[in-house]
Symmetry: C2
């Protein structure tokens, strides 16, 4: 069972791939897709970079399912809209790659990875490093994506339970608002 | 020169295709892509419907360029995020279909179609009907999409000018906020 975790963002989208082997989690790959080289105004071109990047990752690592962080609603509505568009491109790429998609909030991810929802970024990075026995802590965006994949793995250790979790996660996907902790 | 106009929305996305023949505008097709049949919580599945729908329209009508309405920022941040995700799926489908994409606000569209930015929905529908010599007024979402295509046609009557307009439109694409007129 291989899971692709995604932390969507317009400038930087983190991704992380892990395998579940019984109760053990195994690191496969992680990194970021960046659209920084594309000019600021070029929104369609930036969305294409995200779509192409996720499609390529799905083809290369052939995950069985995907989990995406439910993004927080920004104080600035324009940023929220931009983030929404980036997330739309990421989700579309995943479903076009035939992947079932679950969604988790940053709060759920922090609880699953660090044991409490108010964990700082550095704590998430450290816990991801420990849980996946990495030689060093991954970057913040990759760590969040790996954390989302770990959350999806924790929710159910069997395929059936994962299936149910995905439905549950989708049921709560209307809840996009989050606290200021992130 | 064929233009595909898109009015993106999560529940209903309007589309309109027109041809520019010298100074004349000719209606080709219009309609809506609806995701209402997909369950509310199934965001990824709804985005797939939008992506597939736009890809199919692009393949069927083979437009030379696309123009997309810049969506207004909703008072409700969660709606803004959902709308952003729908718009992200639409834009991604257009760029994946190799189409150059221009963006216009509803204000710009109303000015181009009805002569003033405070035109009501019914006025836009009536003016689109007249400009394209349609037997009846198109539905509101299709009319907005045709209006966006007409706006793109008005901006330049030659390919070169359209090219410049597209760049201009993209340069202003950071301006997503709009008044309450819509």
């Amino acid at each position: 069972m291989r899971i692709l975790g995604i932390d969507p963002g317009l400038q930087t989208t983190g991704f992380g791939v892990i395998d579940i082997d019984g109760h053990a989690l195994r690191y496969v790959a992680s990194g970021t897709i960046t659209t920084r080289r594309v000019a600021q105004g070029e929104l369609p071109a930036r969305l294409k970079v995200l779509f192409d990047g996720i499609t390529e990752i799905a083809e290369r690592y052939k995950p069985d399912s995907a989990a995406v962080e439910i993004v927080f609603v920004n104080v600035n509505p324009q940023s929220t809209l931009l983030l929404g568009q980036a997330r739309g491109a990421c989700l579309t790429a995943l479903v076009m790659s035939q992947l079932p998609v679950a969604e988790y909030t940053a709060l759920q991810m922090k609880q699953a990875v660090a044991g409490h929802g108010r964990a700082a970024k550095a704590q998430v990075q450290e816990m991801v490093k420990r849980l996946l026995q990495l030689p060093g802590a991954p970057g913040s965006d990759a760590a969040d994506a790996l954390g989302i994949a770990i959350t999806h793995a924790h929710v159910g250790s069997s395929m059936e339970r994962l299936g149910r979790a995905a439905v549950l996660a989708r049921t709560t996907s209307g809840m996009y608002r989050q606290g200021r902790t992130r």
